[in-house]
Structure formats: C-alpha cells, structure tokens
C-alpha cells in the first residue's frame, strides 16, 4: 500500500454484549460478510476503503485494525457481557489518532473517517467520558444505529446527529443495516469534497428504519 494514497477509513463499532447472543450476533457476522462482498465489487471502495472492527461488551477491543478490503478477514465474534460504549468511544479515538493520516505539507491526508456504531442496549459504563475523549481528540463522520427497543437513542444522539433506529434486532434488520453501511461507504466519497468540517450526505436509511430527530 502506498504511503501517499488517500484511504477512506471505515470503523465499525459493534455491540457484542450478552443481549446480542444468538440470532443477532450471527446476523452481524453475516452482515460483515455481505458488507465485504459488496465493497469488493466496487472498484472505488476496493481501492480506497480500509475497514476496522472495534467490539465492545464489558470492555472494548479493536479486533481488526484498519485493513484494506482485499486483505480483510472476518473477525470471530462471540456475544456476552455488558455494554461498555464509553470504552469503545475512547478506543475509537485512540485508533483514529494512531491509524488515520491527516493532511500536512508532506503527507496526503486520508478521507475523513466514517464510523458506524451498532448497539442494542443502554451503555453500562461512563459513556459521557468516552464522548469527551472522542470529541477532544478526533473528528469523524459518525452514524449510529439503535438496534431494537432496548437501545437508547438519546445516548447515541449525544455522540452524533446521525442516528437511525431499527424496531427490532432481527437478522433481517441487521442485514439491511449492513447493506446500508455498504451503500453509505460507496456514496460517502462522492460527497466528501466539502469545506473543512462539513458533514456528509448519507443514503436514505433502509425501509423500517427511523431517523432519530
């Protein structure tokens, strides 16, 4: 990989707490697989998109560092534990700082990172501290998805203005979520050339998803 190539960093923050056990976690695995297939079929995504997976349950862990699509291997995911969203946001800030290149006179910056957060429950740790750390240290286009009735969209709204909600955490909804992530990654690069700090345009959310105002 060229040190001078612009990359589109994409971070998936996935809730793998106990409530995701069973059908939901299996649907997430299938979703990641589908996402990869979709992105590998798109030349622009294939040349520029780099994907990372951060999971969180009782703690947060970057299970896949920022990796180009061609070399990405699907992570082993197992659900269990609590929902340390704050720790995940803090870790995300660290990862962006370490992995994403900013423009300088001698370095070509990456595209602004895209972050997708998927959670089905309320955080169990100090999530506000995580938001503070993220806001202080990095900027990214963040899209959060509250999966099912137990997720707390107000917490997600504190992280990003871009929050969608799915009614339940079914495999069908999760599958549609990952298809939407794929479309968002493809579409995002078309709307990224903007004034510094400007947001991105996202495709309409899948049917049955609600944009949280």
């Amino acid at each position: 990989m060229s040190d001078f190539m612009r990359r589109l960093p994409v971070y998936l923050l996935l809730d793998i707490s106990g409530s995701m056990a069973g059908e939901p976690i299996e649907a997430v695995k299938v979703g990641i697989s589908t996402l990869l297939t979709e992105l590998r079929g798109d030349p622009q995504a294939l040349e520029t998109a780099f994907l990372s997976v951060i999971t969180f349950n009782s703690s947060a862990r970057q299970v896949i560092p920022l990796t180009e699509i061609m070399l990405f291997r699907e992570p082993m995911l197992q659900a269990g534990g609590a929902t340390a969203l704050g720790a995940a946001l803090s870790l995300l800030a660290d990862c962006i700082k370490a992995e994403v290149r900013r423009s300088t006179d001698t370095q070509k910056g990456d595209w602004k990172p895209l972050v997708f957060i998927l959670t089905d429950g309320a955080p169990t740790d100090d999530w506000k501290a995580g938001i503070d750390i993220l806001n202080r240290s990095s900027t990214a286009n963040i899209i959060a998805c509250a999966a099912g009735a137990n997720a707390d969209p107000t917490v997600l709204k504190a992280i990003t203005p871009n929050v969608v909600m799915m009614n339940n955490c079914s495999s069908g909804d999760l599958s549609r979520f990952f298809a939407w992530v794929s479309t968002s990654v493809k579409v995002s690069s078309k709307s990224l050339d903007s004034k510094p700090g400007a947001g991105i345009e996202l495709p309409p959310p899948p049917q049955g998803f609600v944009i949280v105002p």
Partner: protein, 410 residues
Amino acid sequence: MRATEGGRPYKVKIFKNMIDQNLLSTTESMWKYNPVPEFPEPFPEFSSGAFSVRFFNVTAASVRGKKHKHDGTNNDDYYCVSAPDFCGGKIVIAALCDGAGSRRFSRIGAKAASVTACEALSASFCALTDENPAFFSDLDLPTDNPEWAQLAGKIAAVMRNSVNTAFYAVKDAYEKRLNTDGFEEATLSDFASTFLASVIIKTAAGFDFTAAISIGDGEIAAITETGEPVIFGNSDKGNYAGETDFLLNDNLRTEAELKSRTRFSRKHFKAYFLMSDGVADDYFPTVTGLPLLLCDLKLNGIVPFETPDGTVIPPPPDGHPEPLKYKWVNDPDVSLPLLYCEQFLDSQKLCTDEIYAASCSVSNITGETFNDKAERLYLWLDNYSRRGSFDDRTLVVIRPNVIETDNAGV
C-alpha cells in the same frame, strides 16, 4: 516486475508512491464507462489543445475521472488558456477551476469562472501594456525599485480583480439558469468550484515573470532551469483529503485575503504547471513530485526530452523497464503502454536527469501511436493508473521557448 533488453534483466523495485499493480489489475475491469448526461445541459467530457507563440509552448488537457465515468456524471474541471494578440507572444494567461464533486452544477461554475478570469486578465494586461510602453523591461527592475513596486502592485490588483470577476461570472451563470428546466432547485452553492489563475510573462531580459492566485486545492507550480521546484501558494487543505475551499466563500475574497494568496516569481523556468487536484494529488508532495511529473511527461512523449546543454546522455546500461498497460475505461479492448518514472527508481537510485536520459531509448515506445502533443497529454491523463486516483484530471503545461529576447518591449 522484470523486463529485459539485450538479454539482461532490469530489476524494478516499485516505489512506495507507485501503483499497486495487483489491485489495479483487479479493478481495471470493474470500472465502467457511462456517458455524460445531456440534461440539463451538455458539458464536454474532455478537452485538449496545444499552441505555440513566440516565447511559449502550451499543452493542456482535461479528462473525466474514472469515478465520474463509472457513475455517469460529468467532468467538473475546466480550464482556459490564452496568449493575447497584443503582446507578441510574450504573455500566456491560464485559469483552471475544479467544480466541487458534491455540487450538482459545479462544472458550470468552473467554466464560467475560468473563462471569465482568462478574459478579464487578458483585458487587464492589455491595458497595463498600453499605459506603460516599458512594461516588459520594468518587470526586470530590481524588486526594491519603486517603479517595480508600483508595477507589481498593479499586477497584484489585476490578479485579485480576476477572482472577483470570476465570482460574479459564477453568480451570473447561476442566475441565468434559475428556474429553468433542470435547475429548479439550484442554489448558488451548487456552482462552487476552486480557482487557480496565473499569468506568465517573458520580460525584456528573458526572465519568466509569473503572477498567480488561487483559492482551493489544485496546484500552480514550476520547475526552474536548474531543476528547482517553485510552488505558487499553499493549496487549501483541511485535516482530511477532499476538504477544500471554494471561490464562492465570501471570507476568501476580501482584499487582505486575496493579497495573501497572490504570488510573484521572476526566474527562468523549464516548465510551468497548473493542475487540478486529480493530478496534484498523484504527485504529492509537489516539491518532490514536480520533477517526477515532468519526467513522466517526458517519458511518455508529451514534453520533448532535452538536456540543459543540448547533449544526449547515453541510456542506462541496464536498459529500461517495460511500459505498464491497464485497460482504458473508455474502451476495455484498448490498453495504452505508459511509462512511469518510478519504474526507473530502482536500487541504482537513478536521478531524474538519468531518467530523462533513459527516456531517450524508450520515448518511441509510447510515442508512435499518437503524434499530436495535445492528444498525447489527453491520452496520458486518461490512462495513467495509480491506486485510489479516480478524480477528474486537468493539466496545463507551459514551456518557455529558448529564443533570443529583445529589449524593446511591445
């Protein structure tokens, strides 16, 4: 990659800024060609041209990027170059604008801005040369001479004025289309583009005096006769790629701001460039990338090979690498062989002069199929491949002619 000549292998180490050949071999068949839409108004997909005047040779081209071809959307770049009749081939004016990719009609704004800026600059320099018969010799005065300062001040004002003239041209283009078919929902920001404008003047003493002004990304830059890169201004960049400023931003058109964006230079140039970010990004950072750009242009027969003293340096003993070929998005049955100067940067660490020398032996590889310089530049821009590079590409190359100068001015 290995290539041979005369039975001896030439080992090529792919430079880190070089294409990722494996991935490009995968994606070359995935890029699709979709024509530009005719609605709401047709816009050229590509353009190229070349002309010579007494003191300068100009070659320019603009091509639609792979992404826009794939999506069936327009080339958002536009350029305009002119050598006004009044000055005996001593002045070349160029403007280049890159429409914002996220804005629906930015190409129209880019065209209005670049064409109008060129016209305005031409008229202004006509007036400056009319009012001052010693215009061309005054440009040679020492920079601490009050007359030079006065002239420089006038030129700076002309450059600043071109920005505002371009802005009003964009506004006018928007207002003319308001509520017409296809533009019902248009806003002025839909016409946003970057702005690069420059004038290059052969002074009476034979220097290349240049004035440049820019808003947004892309680059105005030159290489001196001694090989030194000169960058005219700081390209506007945000923290991340693709974040830039546009001509429509009111804060950037204040007099103070425009003063800070105006650059002068008086040197002897080998080549002078205006480029959209689709090219500038591929040769980033410009200070080290510019010699590589010039080298690529030489290797592919767009700029003639010449040594400073006119002598021909023998080609390197190990020969040269084979040109690389990727499918042309426009026609997958066509693969143009192109050379990349990074191919020459092997363990022998050839300097750029040696790369130029190597081009002596290979220039006919890429040069036989098309003769016209403008067509060569167009085909090269449309076909060179680098991973992650699929933006529209526009490049204006201005090369001074080496001829005797007079001291009479015009």
